[in-house]
Symmetry: C2
Amino acid sequence: MSDPAALTDLLGLVAYGELVAFDRMAADARLAPDLTRRALLSEMAAREITHYRRLADRLTELGMRPEEAMRPYVTALQSYHDSTQPKDWLEALTKAYVGDAVADDFLREIAGQLAEPDRQLVLDVLHDSRYDEFAGREIRAAIVADPRLANRLSMWARRLVGEALSHAGRVAAERAALTTLLVAPTGDPGAAQALFKRLTAAHTGRMAAVGLNN
Amino acid sequence: MSDPAALTDLLGLVAYGELVAFDRMAADARLAPDLTRRALLSEMAAREITHYRRLADRLTELGMRPEEAMRPYVTALQSYHDSTQPKDWLEALTKAYVGDAVADDFLREIAGQLAEPDRQLVLDVLHDSRYDEFAGREIRAAIVADPRLANRLSMWARRLVGEALSHAGRVAAERAALTTLLVAPTGDPGAAQALFKRLTAAHTGRMAAVGLNN
């Protein structure tokens, strides 16, 4: 990747994403039905902060203040989360299950276009798959116990994706350098569309895996 | 210390204290005036969870489910925090500065009466002094910039101590085994009173050090 602005744009976005993920998971831990689950979610939240630290250190190394690199994303990410506040434990898990996985897929695609050490850094800070597995298991078990939940949680998941796309679109429009990462390999604008298709297919598969419909 | 019930009572209290401290600091991070401070507080919150994990592992080793050991304290600690919700960044810092230090002084006293490895474990999970220093610095600077703040924050600190004592008294009354730790060394009920005096003197000194009056 040739554009250093695109790199700091990306690292700033991921760093702020970690900070917000920490905040959200810490708040969601309060919704846990018992202390064991609450502690588990709190521990997962804490891991996001370790990731944040690595990204912030890398930004500093690149001569960029982490605060400055993150600032462009504050409004979009905060308003995504404000507009999708889970109202119970299962909505919180569904949001994490659906949202984190899409974000991770996206980062995995982007990472392929970065040079080292940033490629490995971005791959390292992807969400712990243990959390996805835990969330998936809880959602599946809840739907088995009460099949009517499938409908409510599927609607919730669709709303999450809709809100995420709308906010992501706004960020992309504002951060031109970042957007070049998506079309960089071939310069072909169709590349972004192909990426979008892959992300959607993976998302659909994940929904089905826990008993949610798209 | 001869009473194993007192030990698991104590570890359960400290473990739950860590979980709640995590939750509170994570929520307070939202009140931070900028992203650098927000990240700093989030990182400090994450450290509490590392402590929680050590305590939970030790409880498991002692044959006690962490969840069970923590349960007796849920109501008291939660209602302390619910009744003392900071409404801005300086109130959050004052709460941490005042409350964490009193809790740490108390644990340091108690630790002296534990056998190893629990003595060291309790000493290890005391709050990071870096956080106290950070909070103290911020409070002092704010009061220098606006001396009228001293009055509001002093009143807030007194309220915190009052609420903490009232909730702690209720816990002590309910957990007889835990209370024996306070009078164990000599069997003298005056020992608890002497401890209380030492804690109060240290608290008064800390208040003065940042420009708050008792």
